[in-house]
Symmetry: C2
Subunit: 282 residues, 2 copies
């Protein structure tokens, strides 16, 4: 840890919104750990459900591929409306509801609330279409550059469990779409948390993405760059988040499987890909 | 006020979600009052937009009329999903965004978060259909019976502006649809606020609902029952909320016009229907 005082949360858990993710199991596990005294922040995603609702609403999602080959969601005003509805409405409040039903004092927040997550508003994106590069304007995206931890700490110190969701706030106060894994990493670093668990619908980092038995059990910060070269889009963001968390003082990041019966505890017991600045043998 | 110590907010503002309501004007007015030192809680509705999104999502809203002639939304699980998306996602976060853009430290909450709003879960509703009374099960509604003011006070004392939205939490922790006007009244009473402003797309209580010049400028608590007899469904809830706020120690309730350029200040200056326990002359 880089901070002088005790952290208000020792753990940040990020859970994705992909098919197969068992939010009930995540919440039950979080609840049992909370009752044992562990203090944590839960961060969640919601990309797949956002795509479904966007289709239903008649504004299908649009993805763009940058000249460097990076794929991202083009978040115009309509897309942000659906994003807010799904992430901050349906998903955030259903997670809060699950935790409240388990007796936990959950409080749901977006990055806009109290500007917990802040970053620069990226208003345009370069898109490769039919071999030509186009510039699309009206984008509402960015990257978390600052975490205003005061609000999270206020809630944690008063006994509440923060459940945090993108979007972030731009420095002008507008909603911007940010990556949830990297946001969770920034929160873990800002709170001085010891561990970050990133759960999704795979066992962790796989040597072969089509083979779930090819799990890479551990990785060092130095090995992340090489791993990123062969990882898919979503896993790249998780590895990038892991590197950012470790550089920010987090001791250990685990990429775990949200389909496990007790997914947070399984990840913390080492099931998944455990990433640290250096290996234990060193 | 019924409380011994100074209130953390002197004012609660409720703004409805009907056509014509100018949320930009409400937020600008709230911002200018906040900058002058006034501490308040903003509560909002969203019924009309919820109906629109429910239609788009293929789950049109269903309203039931009780044997006593009272009309209400039947909130089954699908309807609650849309309710959460619109109230807690699109509307709550867009209001927070507006306030953040104006430099205010807004924090959006639903009644589920920290169980700010709690009540009994009403699981069935009697509905008159073709002259016959049917009982519909699977309803998720209720009335706010408790306000857990601690979270609102924690935020206000730390300098944040709470922006609060239905649903409430049942005592079991489930989301229940509650009336926003009555929720705002309960919040005002619980915080020991001096005044409650309820804004909608009419000038206030009208003697003739079809004639906007027929505004009733003032009313006493004793006169509310008679006024309710002739009021429409939405206005009935506002009057019920007003009575509950006054009985809970709030000094003055104003039913104001959200279409005004500075709607909160106009209402507080007496434009609208001013309701108090007794008239000034008494």
């Amino acid at each position: 840890m880089t901070r002088g005082r005790a952290p208000t949360a020792s753990l940040v858990v990020k859970v994705g919104g992909s098919a197969g993710v068992d939010l009930d199991a995540v919440c039950r596990d979080v609840a049992s750990r909370w009752r044992e005294g562990e203090r944590l922040v839960l961060v969640h995603g919601g990309s797949d459900r956002t795509n479904q609702v966007a289709e239903l609403m008649g504004t299908p999602p649009r993805f763009v591929t940058s000249p460097s080959g990076h794929t991202s969601r083009y978040t115009d005003s309509d897309a942000m409306e659906v994003f807010l509805m799904v992430y901050c409405g349906a998903l955030n409040k259903r997670i809060v509801e699950r935790l409240q039903r388990l007796g936990l004092p959950a409080v749901g927040l977006s990055g806009l609330d109290g500007r917990v997550l802040e970053g620069t508003h990226k208003r345009s994106v370069r898109s490769v279409e039919n071999g030509k590069v186009r510039v699309l304007h009206g984008d509402h995206t960015g990257t978390v550059e600052r975490v205003n931890a005061e609000l999270l700490e206020l809630l944690l110190e008063a006994g509440y469990l923060p459940v945090l969701s993108p979007p972030a706030a731009s420095y002008e106060g507008s909603a911007i779409n940010v990556d949830g894994d990297r946001a969770a990493a920034a929160v873990a670093a800002a709170l001085g948390a010891e561990r970050l668990v990133i759960l999704s619908n795979v066992p962790g980092l796989l040597a072969d993405v089509d083979d779930e038995t090819s799990l890479i059990p551990s990785l060092t910060l130095a090995g992340i760059d090489a791993a990123m070269a062969s990882a898919g889009g979503r896993m790249k963001k998780k590895l990038l988040g892991a590197a950012e968390a470790l550089r920010g003082g987090v001791e250990q990041v685990v990429l775990g499987d949200a389909r496990e019966p007790a997914p947070v505890s399984a990840a913390l017991a080492g099931r998944g890909t455990v990433i640290a600045v250096s290996s234990r043998e060193e």
